[in-house]
């Protein structure tokens, strides 16, 4: 059953989720970007803002309306919550004979409600869940009404409309008629929450408006990638001269791995206190762009930026399929936007394929 809710209904939604004990997180503005953080009400959302994105470019720009979700994705992804950057897996007391006692397991993370999850992000969450199963959050998805400058979800088959994996899905409507939100439930939990909100059943014109918004988003993709044969293409071209070209440009800064919603590599460390009596095993985000990442006795395997960029890109688009059954890329475009030199994964694929671009 598709319902229509107004902004007050959304505030009611956030309130109901908080009352059910969820930590409610979603998009908000901080440090001139749209990031994910705790939300108390819809006033915390980037109301009336949009983002201007391109290779190595991100700016917030004022809209001429009060859309709550009128932007694409920012430097944060939901992996910030699913796979936190620094986790203590366990802590134990270290005996003088090297044994462990009093082992405390990892503290349970909060139960999250994610507000404003885009379709590409739903796919990313599903991908991560295969590698790092975790408790499912309550998901309020948002179907995009406009695309970002570096988006290519259509190429990757991951959007712009959410088809599964959510409890509630929203399409924001404001162009034709009053500012309102189409809402559907995707689970029993979602149905039960939706029933508590002030709403009316959706009418034909609401559904039509939503359809137009989705189509508009799909037609505005900033990038595209022919992903049909990319695995074979990359494995067959591991010594292609294009790698030298991108290797010259890549700074090995690792931004792409930080903003990518599916990059999951972590480093495992044992940290002892000064007295050496307590040991923590910690898991922290790592990046294949660091020199140490491939370190073995004798040195690193991937000493050149070329080889590290190739590792990242072939893992994302090719090896991932062998390892986990799907592509690792969801077409969100973050790696393009947040690369300081604007390296564009879609352009690199096209270049290796030999397309004229």
């Amino acid at each position: 059953m598709t319902m229509v809710v107004e902004r007050a209904g959304l505030d009611e939604l956030l309130g109901r989720l908080a009352a059910r004990g969820y930590t409610v997180v979603g998009p908000t503005i901080a440090q001139e970007a749209i990031v994910y953080d705790e939300l108390r009400s819809t006033a915390d959302l980037p109301v009336g803002w949009t983002d201007e994105q391109d290779g190595g470019h991100y700016r917030l720009v004022r809209r001429d309306d009060d859309a709550l979700f009128g932007y694409a994705v920012g430097p944060h992804s939901w992996k910030k919550f699913q796979l936190p950057p620094d986790v203590r897996l366990w802590r134990a007391r270290l005996g003088s004979d090297g044994s462990l006692t009093a082992l405390e397991s990892r503290a349970l993370p909060p139960r999250y409600a994610f507000i404003g999850v885009r379709s590409c992000e739903l796919h990313a969450m599903g991908i991560l869940d295969r590698i790092r199963p975790a408790e499912r959050p309550f998901v309020v998805a948002v179907n995009c009404g406009q695309a970002g400058g570096t988006c290519f979800c259509v190429s990757m088959g991951t959007g712009p409309v959410a088809d599964s994996g959510y409890d509630l899905a929203i399409t924001e409507l404001l162009d034709d008629g009053p500012h309102r939100f189409l809402m559907t439930a995707g689970s029993d939990q979602g149905t039960s929450v939706l029933a508590e909100l002030p709403s009316r059943p959706a009418e034909g014109r609401d559904e039509d408006a939503a359809g137009r918004a989705h189509a508009r988003a799909a037609s505005q993709m900033g990038r595209s990638m022919d992903a049909s044969d990319v695995r074979e293409l990359l494995f067959a071209n591991l010594e292609h001269p294009r790698w030298d070209d991108v290797g010259d440009r890549c700074l090995s800064c690792g931004n792409c791995t930080m903003v990518c919603p599916t990059c999951f590599c972590t480093t495992v460390e044992d940290v002892t206190d000064l007295a050496g009596t307590t040991v923590d095993r910690r898991e922290r985000w790592d990046s294949c762009f660091t020199i140490d990442y491939s370190h073995m006795h004798g040195g690193a395997v991937r000493t050149s930026a070329r080889s590290r960029y190739r590792q990242w890109m072939t893992h994302k688009l090719a090896s991932w399929i062998d390892q986990f059954g799907t592509s690792g890329c969801v077409g969100c475009g973050r790696c393009i936007t947040w690369c300081p030199v604007g390296i564009d994964i879609t352009e690199e694929v096209a270049a290796i394929r030999g397309d004229d671009r």
Binding site: M296, H297, G298, G299, V301
Partner: protein, 127 residues
């Protein structure tokens, strides 16, 4: 498949007891050996102590220095076991294409092996 022995002229059977030297570093190299049975160690003498850089076994040729200037042995050749060999004189050999090709092949394979030994793969360099 023709072996090197098919292309060698002459040859006298010789025997060495354990510890005997077949040749010494710096001696005139006007002959070489085909090992029939036994083991010959090639020793590099450095810092007073000999270092075994390779052992040669049944069917292997010991000696290439006869082919090129300055025609002097580069290593010591020492019998590790009682060894039977055939000694060939440099002066008797036909240095035709076939012979050179066989010797070149053996030299290349020794070179490759020596390079691999140099890699010191079991040490820290071996990834």
């Amino acid at each position: 498949m023709a072996t090197i022995a098919d292309h060698l002229v002459g040859g006298a059977d010789v025997r060495f007891a354990t510890g005997d030297h077949l040749f010494r570093t710096g001696d005139v190299a006007d002959h070489f050996y085909l090992i029939r049975h036994g083991t010959v160690a090639l020793d590099l003498v450095a810092g007073g102590r000999p270092h075994v850089i390779e052992t040669l076994h049944d069917g292997e040729i010991a000696g290439f220095s006869w082919l090129f200037d300055p025609h002097r042995w580069l290593f010591d050749g020492r019998a590790v076991d009682d060894t039977e060999a055939t000694m060939f004189l440099a002066a008797d050999q036909r240095l035709d294409g076939e012979v050179m090709r066989h010797f070149a092949a053996i030299a290349v394979s020794r070179l490759q092996a020596a390079r691999l030994q140099l890699l010191d793969v079991y040490g820290s360099a071996g990834r």
